[in-house]
């Protein structure tokens, strides 16, 4: 049902649901004092790529060239049992061991992952406030949980002598009845509140973006924002969600620590891991059946907002094309194009739209290479009067990337950037571990990104153009959020062949 909306002076007051409560008190006002100010829209300019000129008289940087993983950073992996693996990574300067219990589900997403995320966060609060005899006091405050669609990571940072206690606590969190002490009504309220906060701070655009870029029937969309489940959540249904997550998981224990793990400790760890839910529900990956929308511009009308948020991008084919098809594989194209146009300061979009034209505080690109979808996304915001020029600016760059070859200096800067990102990641333990977990959730290891390095080292302007032609030849999926009454004339003028739809 399309909600009835009350509008006053062009400002949305409330939807019919919340109005039920307010209707006794709502007095109709006459909109006599509304002022309409005519807005002057920013004109379009031709796209301009950055020009990369070498510095004169600057100290020379010797090439490091290495794209191997340093020996001491290669994880020591032991199989403890089927689907139970132990990975030892180097320790950190603080000497606090990071202990990560990671559940991964490569072939299917975790259903109601948003509910799980909230429940684990709340559980962390309970652990810190209701300590038991076995709670490792001096590391319980460090508890952290990270839930994604394909992985759940529970982490503690503890001194050497707390390793086994910490692991026991992490395993307990997955046990039956673990959430029985939580205030379930509070959890329901928090989940509902998140939805309102997202609308309040503009993040509602991400939900519509996900619906459109993935396609409404994609399993990822079904795995999140299940309002019916959230509204009726009970201890039993939460238990069921956690149980299902447990039985579709493979388990990895990652320990960042310099001291070695003695065989006796390994036996204790293996015994603890045996208490985890037994994997029994692995499914085959589903085929991706996304269909694009042509030149359709989805607009979330947000009366009163002073900026327009823009999300624009592509759903790339999931299966990598073989090299003899002459196509560049999706993962590489996605990484390449996200960084070429969207790598902050030196990305083409940031350079042109922020640094040259001042249309935005930031415009970025990112590749979401998940097991069941490869998504290329560009995102940024602009003031209302720049909306048309900003969006047209992005579209013009997608076109330019297909028609004109990049200069060699620009290609070199892009390849250097990727190489250095790779090397620098290994000196940042948090980043390194997060990337490693991401690889595990795709059943890969470091070798996967070492292989990708080789593709980057062969990068040239023709490859870039080919990737752009392969991906950008069709109109992108585009979702924006802004004050439609004010920006519509601008959109119609600057994007005359796009069909505006308000979902």
């Amino acid at each position: 049902m399309r909600p009835f909306v009350v509008k006053l002076c062009g400002i949305k007051l409330c939807s019919i649901n919340s109005c039920l409560l307010l209707s006794f008190f709502l007095i109709l006002l006459i909109c006599g004092g509304c002022q309409q100010t005519k807005m002057t829209f920013t004109p379009v300019q031709s796209p301009e790529p950055p020009s990369f000129k070498p510095l004169i008289n600057a100290p020379i940087v010797e090439s490091s060239g290495s794209s191997l993983v340093e020996h001491h950073l290669v994880p020591q992996v032991s199989v403890l049992a089927p689907f139970h693996l132990l990975h030892i990574l180097p320790g950190r300067l603080s000497t606090l061991n990071r202990i990560h219990l990671v559940a991964v589900s490569p072939n299917q997403p975790y259903q109601d992952a948003d509910i799980l995320a909230k429940a684990f966060t709340e559980k962390g609060l309970w652990l810190a406030n209701k300590p038991s005899a076995k709670t490792p006091f001096n590391c319980i405050e460090s508890f952290n949980s990270q839930v994604s669609l394909h992985s759940v990571t529970l982490t503690l940072a503890c001194p050497d002598d707390q390793l086994e206690t910490a692991l026991s606590l992490l395993v307990d969190i997955w046990s039956t009845g673990s959430f029985s002490d939580l205030d379930i009504a509070k959890l329901r309220r928090q989940l509902a509140l998140d939805k309102h906060i997202n609308a309040f701070n503009g993040n509602e655009i991400e939900k519509l973006w996900a619906e459109k870029i993935l396609g409404q029937t994609h399993p990822y969309n079904g795995a999140l924002n299940n309002e019916a489940q959230q509204k009726t959540l009970t201890h039993q249904s939460l238990e069921k969600i956690a149980h299902q997550a447990g039985i579709q998981s493979q388990w990895h224990l990652i320990i960042e620590r310099d001291a070695s793990i003695e065989p006796q400790q390994k036996t204790v760890i293996a015994a603890q891991m045996k208490r985890l839910p037994v994997p029994s529900s692995f499914s085959e990956p589903k085929l991706d059946s996304f269909k694009p929308y042509g030149k359709t511009l989805y607009v979330i009308d947000a009366p009163g907002s002073v900026q327009t948020q823009v999300r624009l991008g592509y759903h790339l084919p999931l299966q990598a094309h073989s090299s003899d098809s002459g196509q560049i594989d999706s993962t590489f194209s996605c990484e390449l194009l996200s960084r070429w146009l969207g790598r902050s300061f030196s990305g083409r979009l940031y350079y042109d739209l922020r640094e040259r034209r001042g249309l935005t505080y930031g415009i970025y690109g990112r590749c979401f290479d998940n097991p069941m979808a490869t998504i290329l996304k560009y995102y940024g915001s602009t003031q209302l009067q720049h909306t048309g020029a900003f969006i047209k600016g992005i579209l013009d760059h997608l076109q330019l990337a297909q028609t004109e070859l990049a200069e060699d200096d620009e290609v070199k800067a892009l390849a250097d950037y990727y190489q250095n990102q790779f090397n620098l990641m290994f000196d940042d333990p948090a980043h390194r571990t997060a990337r490693y977990i991401q690889l595990l959730s795709k059943q890969q290891d470091w070798q996967a990104i070492v292989n990708q390095q080789a593709q980057w080292q062969r990068l040239n302007s023709l490859t870039l153009q080919q990737a752009a032609q392969q991906v950008f030849h069709a109109p992108p999926v585009m979702v924006i959020r802004g004050d439609l009454d004010k920006i519509k004339p601008d959109l119609q003028e600057k994007l005359p062949d796009w069909h505006i739809v308000t979902p």
Binding site: L22, G304, S344, Y361, Q383, A413
Partner: protein, 467 residues
């Protein structure tokens, strides 16, 4: 005899607690011992921290210049100038700094606060000399043009729209809080006023640079794979930067009137009421700063704070958050709360003031104090685990910690007693709170008022439906 036994037990447990803290704190001392400290003749403070098994270095440069240095009509200059330092210098014109760093660096950026401006980056160690050459060039010889100033004025206005004006309540709440310290160096927003930003010129910004960017206000820290020639490079690129004859602008602790203030703001875009509470405390250079940080953590900010405990079941608020806000000479303990449907803003305020009054009366047990110190220590240890954050921490060192940048702050925390905790709570939190009610339009306020009168069962059910 019994007394003796109890005394012995207490002494033993206190000693054990101290042993545990001493053992955990060891990495702070071990890392600190390996830092090479140098102060160049021009006053520039250098800290080099070589770390094993690294391929990269992190560089953090913190200047003691922030919005508190700005004069009337030039608000926002420190922040705008920070933007300008990415837009060209004598040897790296135009966007070549950003382009070079973008190719080399994992992260490079800057931030401006009331007291300081901080530039940081990390990059492969083999590019360290180039990075120092570039940093020196932009700090000493920035090159501003009419076009780049105009462009960055626009960018800052976009930043203002994104972070402040696009959200209900933010601007009026910010202006109200700043008004409490009007007439002091902390009396205006870091981002400045739109009028002042638009009025900035190449000349006025250049003058700002000449006045405040000087070697004796800079702390430069380099962490990671630090090559042996590093100090030579630092001297080669920074030592010729002359120290001005005058001393840098000095500041003093704020004299704050700690009486209670109550005010409200109404925002037509507000979806629901909110409550902002603030207590004027002390700056990080003050002798009570360590005790205040423990009190804030215990009452509001940690995962096991008093408020977190009270909120485990049937909390009075839908959500709350509290972040430390500490400047060099001034601090604010703050709390933002969003009430449940049947709870008024008055009730939320009463709950918090009651928590503070209880705490001021009793303080902590020795075990609670130990836990609190442990938590603080772990936060300090966590800074060691990221090279950029470690370099940034080193460059933010107070003069009194010049040679003990890691252990100095920890030792002050470790020295806090329960008597200190009670004293600072009575002195800084009990006398008065600044309260700001964040109110939505009238129809939501009226509905909310009705909900507060209804029986709890009804309100809970209505709240759930509306949510």
């Amino acid at each position: 005899m019994a007394h003796l036994f109890i005394a012995a037990t207490i002494t033993t447990s206190v000693a054990a607690a101290n042993d545990e803290l001493v053992k955990l704190a060891l990495p702070l001392y071990q890392v600190e011992k390996t830092i090479e400290y140098r102060r160049l003749d021009n006053g520039l403070e250098v800290r080099l921290l070589p770390l094993a098994q690294r391929q990269s270095v992190a560089i953090a440069s913190q200047f003691a210049v922030g919005s508190r240095n700005e004069s009337q009509g030039q608000t926002g200059y420190a922040h705008l100038f920070e933007h300008m330092l990415f837009k060209g210098s004598q040897n790296a014109p135009g966007d070549s700094y950003s382009q070079t760093m973008s190719a080399l660096s994992g992260r490079f950026n800057a931030s401006t606060f009331f007291d300081y401006t901080n530039y940081y980056l990390n990059l492969p160690s083999n590019a360290l000399e180039l990075a120092l050459w570039l940093e020196a060039d932009r700090f000493i010889r920035p090159s501003l043009t009419t076009d780049t100033v105009k462009n960055q004025q626009q960018t800052v206005l976009e930043e203002m729209a994104t972070t402040i004006d696009n959200q209900p309540y933010i601007r009026p709440a910010m202006e109200f809080l700043l008004k409490q310290v009007q007439g002091t160096p902390y009396g205006h927003a870091v981002i400045g006023s739109k009028t002042d930003i638009e009025a900035a010129t190449t000349e006025s910004l250049t003058q700002f640079h000449q006045t405040f960017y000087r070697p004796d206000t800079l702390q430069l820290s380099i962490v990671g794979q630090v090559p042996p020639q590093t100090l030579t490079w630092v001297k080669a690129y920074f030592a010729d930067w002359p120290m001005p004859n005058n001393t840098p602008q000095g500041f003093h602790p704020l004299q704050v009137n700690r009486q209670s203030v109550h005010h409200e703001i109404i925002d037509a875009r507000g979806p629901w009421p909110g409550l902002l509470l603030a207590w004027h405390t002390v700056g990080r250079s003050h002798q009570d700063a360590a005790a205040i940080s423990l009190v804030e953590s215990y009452l509001l900010q940690s995962r096991s704070s008093v408020l977190a405990k009270l909120s485990l079941t049937e909390p009075k608020q839908l959500l709350y958050y509290s972040l430390p806000l500490t400047m060099e000479h001034f601090g604010v303990m703050n709390l933002v709360m969003v009430p449940r449907a049947n709870i008024s803003l008055d009730q939320l305020t009463e709950q918090i003031t009651a928590i503070i009054d209880d705490f001021a009366a009793g303080g902590l047990t020795s075990e609670q104090l130990k836990q609190l110190k442990l938590r603080s220590l772990q936060q300090q240890l966590a800074k060691l685990d990221n090279d950029i954050s470690l370099a940034t921490t080193l460059s933010a060192t107070l003069e009194k910690d010049r040679l003990t940048p890691l252990s100095g702050p920890w030792e002050r925390v470790n020295a806090v007693t329960n008597a200190d905790i009670i004293r600072v709570t009575r002195q800084y939190l009990q006398p008065g709170v600044v309260r700001l009610d964040l109110l939505p339009p009238w129809y939501i306020r009226w509905s909310k008022a009705v909900l507060e009168w209804l029986p709890t069962g009804w309100t809970d059910s209505l709240e759930e439906q509306v949510l």
